[in-house]
Amino acid sequence: MFKNYIKTAVRSLYKNKGFTAINILGLALGLATCLLIVFYVVDELSYDRYNTKANRIYRVNEDLKLGENNVQYAVAMPPLAKTLKVEYPYIEDATRIKNAGTTHVKKGNINIVENRVGFVDASIFNVFTLPMISGEPKTALLEPNTVVLTESTAKKYFNTTDAVGKTIVFNEKENFKVTGVIKDVPKQSHFNFDFFVSLESFPDSRSNEWLRSDYNTYVLLKDAKDHTKLEASFPAFLQKFSGSQMQSELGMSISQFEKSGSHFRLNLTALTDIHLKSNRSGELGPNSTTQYVYIFSAIALFILLIACVNFMNLSTARSSNRAREVGVRKVLGSSRKYLILQFLAESILVTFVATVIAMIAAAAVLPLFNQLSGKEIVLTVESLKWLVPSLLFIILVIGSLAGSYPAFFLSAFQPIDVLKGKLSAGFKGGDLRSFLVVFQFFVSILLIIGTLVIYNQLNYIQTKNLGYNRNQVLVVQNSSELKDQAKVFKQELAELPGVKSATMTGFLPTNGWRNTRIYFKDASFDQKKSLFPQSWEVDADYIPTMDMKMAAGRNFSKEMMTDSSAVILNEAAAKFLGFSDPINKTIYQSSGGDRKGSAPNVKECHIIGVVKNFHFNSLREKIEPVVMTLGQNSGALGIRVSTTNITALMGQIKDKWNSLSPGVQINYSFMDQDFDASYRTEQRIGTIFVIFTSLAIIIACLGLFGLAAYAAEQRTKEIGIRKVLGADVSVIVGMLSKDFIKLVCIAIVLASPIAWYGMNKWLQDFAYRITIQWWVIAVAGAGALVIAFVTISFQSVKAALANPVDSLKNE
């Protein structure tokens, strides 16, 4: 019996090839898209879970509030880790990581630039699960000048994973002994190092300073529940260990400090929350946000719903053609139960085929998706373990849902009515189908509006006047390699034809160099009048090279000796200090240090100019106050070029570099590209969003296409009669389109306000943002209408052009 059902199902599907193709492909497309998103979301959620002790690991963060300045650090004080371990018996272990930044590693005669170098405590292998292939994890990093490599790094430098005992040379001169080789750090880790260098190698790691934070610090609890207890004990802990240093540095106790409205606190972030929920200063890498996980999950769900709705719509629409079959089967003795089973089996069969296609398609486009999303997702046997059961579940659910309508509805027919053809005119299942079409377009319009808003915001970011000109600026990232020669290099470059000007400092708007320092409005060091700005060392060429504009006063001058104590503020800093005319005013800086008395040493800083605000953080954030001082920082070299022949100029620049530093490769980039890189996440999200939206719309249109074809088919006779009576093609197209267009209009009315509200919420995350224009909604609505109309027209024009004689004859 079952064989008979399958046979009928397969042949019936084959007979209606067009419908079947639309139905299966639509569902497969939806499922494939959904699968990709699921892979993405699962990948995001899996961060740091490779650690077997993940649920017991917490990072200790520091929150600092000074006057109006509020900074949240992902890093903490140097002595914190070892002190916590001694003080709390329920802490099993504690460990620290410090990002080493760009490092040169020697291979043969050349130096390779490595960015994934971390300074770590020996206890790292006890806290994190980083399996060692060779070497002894307990002792590997106990000694100074030892390093543990990842498997692929060992292969890169020594062509073997058997690298223990060999030597790595950092920055031309520092020799480190390889004491272990670990497996590569999983991609889903909030830190990703290739070199784990022993912190013991650096005296700073033994520093006992409690008022600075620069080590990412992790604790491994014996029992995960103790994290609340630990967090609660932090105030007393800080009082005990940092109180005296605060007294001598700032001349006040912690409680006085708190009373003045400032604070200095520690708190915990669970390891598994770091990737999605933490965005503090001093993170070990760029983290993601839960927002995108939610948005993408919602999109996946929407797409799946649209695809399922299509599937149901087309199945039920088509099933009325099978009413006669139902009738015959009933007359021949089939009971209702068997008919229900038959339709369900058929529907599940189709879903199964679609799912298999979807799975293959998703696997096939995964590399492309990885490229777009910046992920490295691979399908493993491990992932099949959850994937296959969930797919089977989906097949059952979607198959049953889609099949249930024809199954229960058609099987209830009185066979005699169906056989007499009484139902074919009246049976349309109209309300449910209308609702489903509205739903589909509702979702499509939400996605269209969402995409338009995201696109506009990204466009706004890209074209916004940033307060400096990022075009035609070449950045030499490793000018500090040249040491004393750096100044010579800059001078020589500035003389090249095609170079307008050059500035040497790591504090370029697009570079990572940032530094904060406390300034006070008056010499009494009143917290309430403190400013906690970015404090950047620049040279006199900085402002002209960056093409920044002065709002008041003047730039630094090489000729004026007094400029060594001069500062230039940005408008944000000037506004914060509240000077009506800041030029020639003085601000004060604590030069810190070793005094025991109440008032620390004071350095006076003379304001000579105010530069117009410029963006150096993400446009998500407000422009922070910046204080620029004249200095000798050689962290990077920004060169404004004025030639179209970049290749020739680059050749000259490289020649100069090689003559000054033959052993080290020049590392350069273009400022506009650096800027784009900082919005890569947003751009990626934008691209993915556009793709998913397009897919959702295509799927919705496939459904509409099928429905329109069905509607036209159902009304063939009516169309024939109308044509015989003199109706034009346009009248008939209008008649056939009207019903669907009405539904799309309802969807527009429902979706617009919701999309507007939702996207406004998303925009709130940007300190600098667009407002949603009315035309965005209009474009989305009109777009949906046009797409719907074109889709329907395909069918309705065909039906309207058909010869009426043919349609009337077959009755």
Binding site: M1, N4, K7, T8, R11, S12, K15, R324, E325, G327, V328, R329, K330, V331, L332, G333, S334, S335, R336, Y338, Q414, P415, I416, L419
Partner: protein
């Protein structure tokens, strides 16, 4: 075999109530070949549907083989139907997706006959209907006469006691129509009771008895000689 008494059937729309059968009483004996005639709308199809247990009467009694079936539920009716009654329709009502063989096999599947037995019985009946050579064709590939042979083969494959034929020659030319009537006559001679609705006096002459209906009532019975 069939005894109906005071059978009534109404069709209601919102405003009008139409009486399809009006206190109809009749009897059909085993082995009879009865033709039901009458103008359009006289209730003959309604009667056939009730006789075939595809429809319920509103009032009255219907005794089939000694069992009162007038108010049987769907499942019981389906059960009784599939073992006892074969149908032949004017528009054949073959399933387009199934081959000749599979169409004929269908009733056997529903009555739970084993696969081997099914092949035997289907082949037997196809042979008898002289359409064995068409066994793997689909309905659309056959002429009207051939399709009706398949439909008759399907109706008799389960060896029903009763065949209900609703204008079996209505869609056929006269030569094919005569063939079909010959087939039905043969079946009747082998013992199957046949009740046939027809517009054709010519076809009616094949029967033993003609029941003429008008407005849902028997107006005349002709016994054929």
């Amino acid at each position: 075999m069939i005894k109906i008494t005071n059978l009534e059937k109404f069709y209601r729309t919102e405003e009008v109530e139409t009486i399809a059968l009006n206190k109809l009483t009749m009897e059909v004996n085993t082995g009879e070949f009865v033709a039901i005639m009458g103008p359009s709308g006289c209730g003959k199809s309604t009667l056939l549907n009730i006789l075939g247990m595809l429809d319920d009467p509103d009032e009255g009694s219907y005794v089939f083989n000694g069992i009162e079936v007038a108010h049987f539920n769907e499942r019981k009716r389906a059960d009784l139907r599939k073992h006892n009654i074969g149908f032949v329709f004017q528009s054949f009502n073959l399933i387009d997706e199934l081959t000749v063989f599979e169409n004929v096999e269908l009733p056997l599947i529903y009555t739970g006959v084993t696969a081997a037995e099914r092949v035997k019985r289907v082949e037997e009946v196809l042979d008898k209907m002289q359409i064995m050579h068409r066994r793997n064709h689909y309905p659309q590939q056959l002429s009207g006469g051939q399709q009706q042979r398949v439909a008759i083969a399907r109706a008799v494959v389960n060896k029903p006691k009763l065949i209900l034929a609703d204008e079996p020659t209505g869609n056929l030319d006269s030569s094919n129509g005569n063939d079909v009537m010959e087939l039905l006559t043969d079946l009747n001679e082998q013992g199957t009771t046949i009740i046939m609705v027809t517009h054709s006096e010519h076809d009616a002459r094949y029967s033993h008895r003609i029941i003429r209906l008008l407005d849902g009532q028997t107006v005349m019975e002709n016994i054929m000689v």
